[in-house]
């Protein structure tokens, strides 16, 4: 039983980390675009891909089994928030503020850390 809860926690942590990884990718790409090192069209393509992937991740986090409901809701909200930021930016050919992406990234990393700590299995 412990092993099963542990597996669920690790799976949940991986999902949260993947969300955070997309956030980090967006931040890094924006940073490079501001220095003119990557083309703008690439950043827009990245935003659009990230939005789709993060929407899928939001659903997967929502379907996670054996995880505290509150933690699941928070992680889903952070992921869907990131998906919305990236999607809006891609549609408007703009860039979301780095601070808002960073904040959501840190939230997801903290939740992944908490899950890896193993104290959140239902």
């Amino acid at each position: 039983m412990w092993g099963c809860g542990r597996d669920n926690s690790v799976t949940f942590a991986r999902l949260a980390e993947r969300g955070a990884s997309w956030a980090a990718s967006l931040e890094f790409a924006q940073e490079l675009a501001q220095q003119g090192m990557v083309p703008r069209r690439y950043v827009e393509d990245l935003m659009s891909t990230a939005s789709q992937e993060l929407t899928t991740l939001t659903a997967q986090i929502g379907d996670s089994e054996g995880i505290d409901g509150d933690l699941k809701r928070k992680a889903s909200a952070s992921c869907s928030g990131l998906a919305a930021l990236a999607g809006d930016a891609a549609r408007k050919h703009g860039m979301p503020t780095q601070a808002s992406i960073r904040e959501l990234e840190l939230q997801l990393r903290a939740m992944a850390q908490q899950a890896r700590g193993g104290a959140i299995a239902r």
């Binding site: 597996d7 393509d45 891909t49």
Partner: protein, 404 residues
């Protein structure tokens, strides 16, 4: 002098053609997730492929048989059907990954969806095979493939921690995510010991009419070419470890990894990334499509040569045309090229024993190799590496699937 030229060209071909969608994708993911900890998998795979390439080159030089032709002759057609089906499956999966990778490279360059580029990429590959000769394909791919050395320049510029790099050359139990670690190790081994590499090499050696005088150049090219080539793949892992890992970027899709050369190579970094991906994938796709024609032709005893005009070898040309057509399907359906790559590499490792077992029997048969049969070191090294990779795959794939 002639031998030196042959060795130089051989090493150039190995280095320029080493990096493709599998070796690049697995090295990026491994470096981003585990930094230098999976360098050993590239080193181990390289030892395996160097032995296999040397063996199959020796077989071609001494017996004038390709791998498939020799196995068919030794075991009969009924037996050869199973290795043939396994290799066609693997070749088509990897070919599909390469077509997807090249299309994705064009998405990075233009910002338009990779699905738009699948058919143009497939037509380009087909046209090159239709109009070019074996030598032209081999050498142009090798020269253009040298663009992948930009990863080695980037790794050198970034200045990795050499103690950690050395530590990574020895397998260690990871602190976390053992299943993902093992799955990535399997992926790297599958990318490095891809069966098409040695069956294509032996077919090429027969096409170029190698003789016993070519045994020494073959041995040097197999050892040095693969060693230098593996340094490029290791460089990809090092750059991913130094650029992506500290930022928490996992590189699960090529779009995430496309920035990895931008810090060390500035404005050139992004262009060199997609160019390396494109050239590496097109080069490997050419070899894979040809390999399908080679192995089918050699199994059925048809005429097979890339140097003949398609009209004179219609079945050979039909083989690669069909293979390219089938390989476009996953990308047209929108399956992510990197995810397809990881799956293809895992399947490759699972079927390796079916392909390499019969080859080892042939390589120990004096009827084919005369006094040049395998020594015990070659037999032991190849058997150990292939079985280790197989066991790792059987353990890691279900765990990874469950985790997902």
């Amino acid at each position: 002098m002639k031998n030196l030229t042959k060795i130089g060209l051989g090493i150039l071909t190995s280095v320029g053609g080493y990096l493709e969608v599998g070796s690049m994708g697995t090295a990026i993911q491994a470096g981003a997730a585990f930094r230098y900890e999976l360098l050993w998998a590239i080193a181990l795979g390289t030892v395996g492929i160097a032995f296999l390439v040397e063996m199959t080159g020796r077989l071609a030089a001494v017996s004038h048989h390709s791998v498939v032709a020799a196995v068919r002759k030794r075991f009969g057609f009924r037996f050869q059907v199973w290795p043939l089906l396994s290799q066609i499956l693997v070749d088509l999966l990897v070919l599909a990954s390469e077509v997807g990778g090249a299309s994705l490279a064009l998405e990075l360059a233009t910002g338009y969806s990779f699905r738009l580029f699948v058919i143009p990429v497939a037509v380009l590959i087909w046209a090159l095979l239709w109009f070019a000769t074996f030598g032209a394909i081999e050498h142009s791919v090798a020269v253009l493939g040298l663009v992948t050395l930009s990863f080695s320049v980037a790794a050198w510029w970034l200045g990795p921690d050499w103690t950690a790099v050395r530590h990574g050359l020895v397998p260690h139990r990871p602190a976390t995510d053992a299943a993902q670690y093992a799955y990535l190790a399997v992926g790297i081994l599958g990318a490095t010991i891809s069966p098409y590499l040695f069956s294509f090499y032996s077919s090429g050696a027969v096409e170029e009419e190698w003789r016993k005088e070519d045994l020494m150049p073959n041995r040097i090219v197999a050892a040095l070419g693969m060693a230098f080539g593996s340094l490029v793949a290791m460089s990809v892992m090092v750059v991913a470890a130094m650029v992506l890992a500290p930022r928490g970027i996992e590189g699960e899709m090529y779009q995430q990894a496309a920035t990895m050369l931008s810090l060390p190579l500035a404005h050139w970094g992004f262009r060199l990334f997609w160019l390396s991906l494109f050239i590496g994938c097109v080069g490997a796709a050419l070899e894979l499509a040809l390999d399908v024609s080679y192995i089918v032709g050699q199994t059925f005893g048809w005429a097979w040569s890339e140097n003949q005009p398609p009209a004179e070898e219609a079945r050979f040309a039909l083989g690669y045309s069909l293979a390219i057509g089938v390989a476009t399907t996953p990308s047209i359906l929108g399956i992510d090229p990197l995810k397809l790559t990881m799956f293809s590499m895992a399947v490759t490792v699972v079927v390796l024993p079916i392909l390499i077992g019969p080859l080892l029997v042939v390589m120990n048969d004096a009827e084919y190799l005369e006094q040049y049969t395998n020594g015990w070191i070659t037999n032991l090294a190849v058997t150990t590496i292939v079985l280790l990779a197989f066991v790792l795959a059987v353990l890691a794939i279900p765990l990874q699937l469950m985790a997902q």
